[in-house]
């Protein structure tokens, strides 16, 4: 019978301390969550593309899309990523006042984006496009609606952080809380860039 590993020498140089984790637990876990969110949105985008051009009745994308309007709202959302970066940078430097300001601006821009989306949806409904009109309506509202819901959750999250900060609950050593919210916010923005390109812009390039 072999003794196996007993024949191997014990490893000499053992790092006695736990090597510091390259990514804090919370941030790491959140990255993983976002990875799975990517697949969720990919499935909805895939559904949109798979059903593209299969609608039997109108309105069709070309009939309703208002590219200039959506460009403006996309710009607003992208700007909010910038202000979010500024909020995170502020808390990392311990500047709570600046962080509060930028959080407020970010949440506000998120609300403006949602306002645009609400306006867009009502316009589309007026033109006769609902969830049940055709598969374009179904997959369009589902995809952009889920994105909008994510923005809304993000706004609630930012406002909660802001309230917490106003009561003095967020200091430099709580920066991770803001960073994680930032990750989420950027993720939602990136998803929008994909949606804007694939759903809106490519419609006119086809």
């Amino acid at each position: 019978m072999t003794i196996g590993s007993a024949a191997r020498p014990l490893r000499e140089a053992v790092t006695p301390h736990r090597a510091p984790a390259p990514l804090e637990n919370v941030k790491f876990g959140f990255w993983l969550f976002l990875a799975s969110e990517c697949l969720f949105f990919a499935s909805l985008v895939g559904t949109y593309l798979a059903l593209h051009g299969r609608s039997l009745t109108g309105p069709f994308p070309q009939d309703v899309f208002n590219i200039p309007l959506t460009t403006v709202s996309s710009f607003v959302l992208l700007t909010s990523s910038l202000t979010m970066v500024l909020a995170v940078a502020a808390i990392q430097h311990g500047d709570v006042a600046a962080m509060k300001r930028w959080l407020a601006v970010t949440a506000f821009l998120g609300l403006v984006f949602l306002g645009f989306q609400a306006y867009e949806f009502t316009e589309f409904v007026h033109e006769g496009l609902t969830l049940r009109t055709n598969v374009f309506g179904a997959s369009f509202y589902t995809l952009t609606g889920f994105h909008g819901a994510h923005v809304a959750i993000g706004v609630i999250w930012l406002v909660t952080l802001l309230l917490h900060a106003l009561r003095g609950g967020i200091t430099r050593d709580k920066a991770t809380a803001v960073e994680v919210a930032g990750l989420y916010w950027h993720f939602v923005d990136v998803v929008w860039i994909v949606i804007f390109t694939v759903v809106y812009l490519l419609e006119f390039a086809r």
């Binding site: 007993a6 053992v14 301390h17 799975s36 969720f40 559904t47 969830l131 598969v135 589902t142």
Partner: protein
């Protein structure tokens, strides 16, 4: 009223009981959560088994009259759904929860409360699904729930709604626990443990969790689309509206095939712990095992179309996916060689656990071979949807999953309970399970070749299917007897089993270096790991026991960390009601969805919000547990 609410939060906030029902409701200890998963999973397994017996009774004779056609469809659907989502996965999660943190020398998982949440969501999903029997009828569209059979037109009742909401609720829990395990494994290993020192079971946990992370979202998306079809009249899966039924199949099987490996990899992991221990040899070909697991995890996402060979995607697509499917058998074969080579020349001890492990090797090989036949896209149209396929996947599902889970149960039972099982009784029940199993499922292959379709609730006597069906049903009773004998063994062991001691099997890995059952904090001092098979190494060429790692100065290590200095205190996470409250909120909201009641849904969401904000503002940093000075 505000004062009342505050008081309520106050009492809820500080659960302190250490025993009794409340302590189980609020526990965040990975071991207790593991036990909850194991017990609940076993209960659901028994329900699934009863459903299987009903199926077999109905099919025992031609023209059977035990179940009506509609009831048969419901029983069949609930059998598959229960076995996969409510029995196999939770039992696996039970082992992950209980054992994996100890195997890597951690005090707890990275997010103990999230871990509790995972369990409560699984339980909620199970309750939602099974309540369908009493609240309007169980789903009847198969565990794959194909659209548009499951759409509003062909499944107008509420059954499918129970399926959709039950699986989404438990799915959130599964996703959360996958994240939890990945972070735990990568961030919380004991000092000195490199990735390539991890026990195989930890590797299996890591890869399984990664597969869950990427496979579950497409299924969730599919279920949401189907929900919209049913609630709002969208036409995603309604061809007459321009929708596409094959889209459901893609979204389902992109999840459904990796699901097979979500079940199989943990099985591989358990077998890879049991075989070396009872062969008294280190695992043969460790590096190739890691590579094989990586390859299987990657390939598992590239084969889903083999469930759709007969859909008509064309010969090129079918050929491509036939090739990727067969490619998976290469890394699986490597693992087989690893296990056999580990036993080769080993000092084998034929415990019950090793019986199940070897039973696994035999049965899983047969299942793999019949799978190769399925994967031949030219043969598939002949075998698709016959009992051949049912035989194949039960050889894999029971051979792979159930046998290895039982191997793990017999192996780790002494660690979990501190008591030994009766080995003689254990071996007897093994033989009953093994023989019964083959009696049931081997004839399925023959029935399949004879042309018996699956999902039929009866058949005519002149088809020549009667004999093998009768054999299969008799086998089901033999296997059932074996399972009951096992249950008897477990119960008597709890009552009057021999005390096990810390290391009954002369084990290799860290769990055997701590008392049985382990204390709440697992390791009084975190062990210093000096190589693979850490405990075995210390027993053979070290001091015989694990050396404690130098205490850490700071750094929050999830479940807790030692405080530096003389007074030895361990940081523990506090128990909490909030995970259960969050799960309750989602459950109530789901019933609101199922019964189309906005009011109930809003009440559920209110409870949910209360749970989430309570969780956030509870913000409890845990407590310190003082230990006697000299424990090591």
């Amino acid at each position: 009223m505000a004062v009342g609410a505050e008081k309520l939060v106050g009492t809820l906030r500080k659960p302190r009981e250490e025993t009794g029902l409340w302590s189980w409701l609020t526990t965040v200890d990975h071991k207790r959560i593991g036990i909850l998963y194991l017990a609940t999973g076993f209960a659901f397994f028994l329900m699934g088994a009863v459903e299987a017996l009903l199926i077999r009774l109905q099919l025992a004779r031609p023209g059977g009259g035990v179940l009506s056609a509609q009831t048969y469809n419901q029983v069949l659907t609930m059998h598959g759904t229960t076995m996969i989502f409510l029995a196999a996965m939770p039992l696996i999660a039970g082992f992950f929860n209980y054992m994996m943190p100890i195997l890597i020398g951690a005090r707890d998982v990275a997010f103990p409360r999230m871990n509790a949440l995972s369990y409560w969501l699984f339980l909620a999903g199970g309750i939602i699904l099974n309540s369908s029997w009493f609240l309007g009828g169980a789903p009847a569209a198969g565990w794959f729930n194909y659209a548009n059979l499951s759409g509003p037109q062909f499944s107008p009742g509420r059954g499918i709604d129970f399926y959709l909401l039950g699986l989404q609720v438990s799915g959130i829990g599964t996703l959360v626990s996958a994240i939890n395990f990945i972070v735990t494994i990568l961030n919380l290993r004991a000092p000195g443990m490199r990735l390539m020192d991890m026990p195989p079971f930890a590797w299996a946990t890591l890869f399984t969790s990664a597969i869950i992370l990427f496979a579950l979202p497409p299924f969730t998306a599919g279920m949401i689309l189907l929900m919209f079809d049913r609630w709002f009249g969208t036409g995603f899966f309604v061809p007459s509206a321009g929708g596409d039924v094959v889209l459901w199949q893609h979204l389902f099987w992109i999840f459904g095939h990796p699901e097979v490996y979500i079940l199989a990899l943990p099985a591989y992991g358990i077998i890879s712990e049991v075989i070396p221990t009872f062969s008294r040899k280190p695992f043969f070909g460790y590096t190739s095992m890691v590579i094989a697991l990586t390859a299987i995890s990657g390939l598992s996402f590239l084969v889903w179309v083999h469930h759709m060979f007969t859909v008509g995607l064309g010969p090129w697509v079918n050929t491509l996916f036939a090739i990727t499917t067969k490619a998976i058998s290469v890394p699986t074969g490597i693992l087989m060689f690893n296990w056999i080579a580990t036993m080769w020349g080993g000092d084998l001890r034929f415990t019950t656990a090793l019986h199940y492990a070897v039973g696994f090797l035999v049965v899983f090989t047969i299942g793999g071979l019949s799978g190769i036949v399925n994967a031949t896209s030219a043969l598939n149209p002949q075998l698709q949807d016959t009992y051949w396929v049912v035989g194949h996947f039960h050889y894999v599902a029971i051979g792979g999953v159930l046998f290895s889970l039982l191997a793990g149960l017999c192996y780790w039972w002494p660690k979990i309970t501190g008591r030994l099982l009766d080995e003689r009784l254990g071996r007897r029940s093994f033989w009953l399970v093994f023989i019964g199993f083959n009696l049931i499922f081997f004839p399925f292959h023959i029935l399949g070749v004879l042309g018996m379709p699956r999902r039929i609730y009866t058949y005519a006597p002149e088809l020549g299917l009667s004999v093998w069906n009768a054999v299969a049903t008799a086998g089901a009773f033999v296997m059932g007897t074996g399972i009951l004998l096992l249950a008897y063994n477990l119960v008597t062991s709890l009552v009057r089993g021999q005390p096990a001691g810390a290391d009954p099997w002369d084990g290799r890995t860290l769990e055997w270096s701590i008392p049985s059952p382990p204390p709440v904090y697992n390791f009084a001092r975190l062990p210093l790991v000096r190589g693979r098979d850490a405990f075995w190494l210390e027993k053979r060429s070290g001091g015989g026991t694990m050396q404690p790692a130098p205490e850490e100065e700071h750094g929050h290590a999830g479940g807790g960390h030692g405080k530096g200095g003389h007074g030895h205190a361990i940081h523990m996470p506090s128990p909490s009601y909030m995970p259960a409250v969050v799960a309750l909120g989602l459950t109530v909201a789901s019933y609101g969805g199922i019964f189309r009641s906005l009011l109930v849904a809003l009440i559920g969401l209110a409870i949910l919000a209360f749970g989430i904000f309570g969780w956030i503002f509870e913000d409890d940093s845990g407590y310190l547990l003082e230990l006697e000075e000299d424990v090591a």
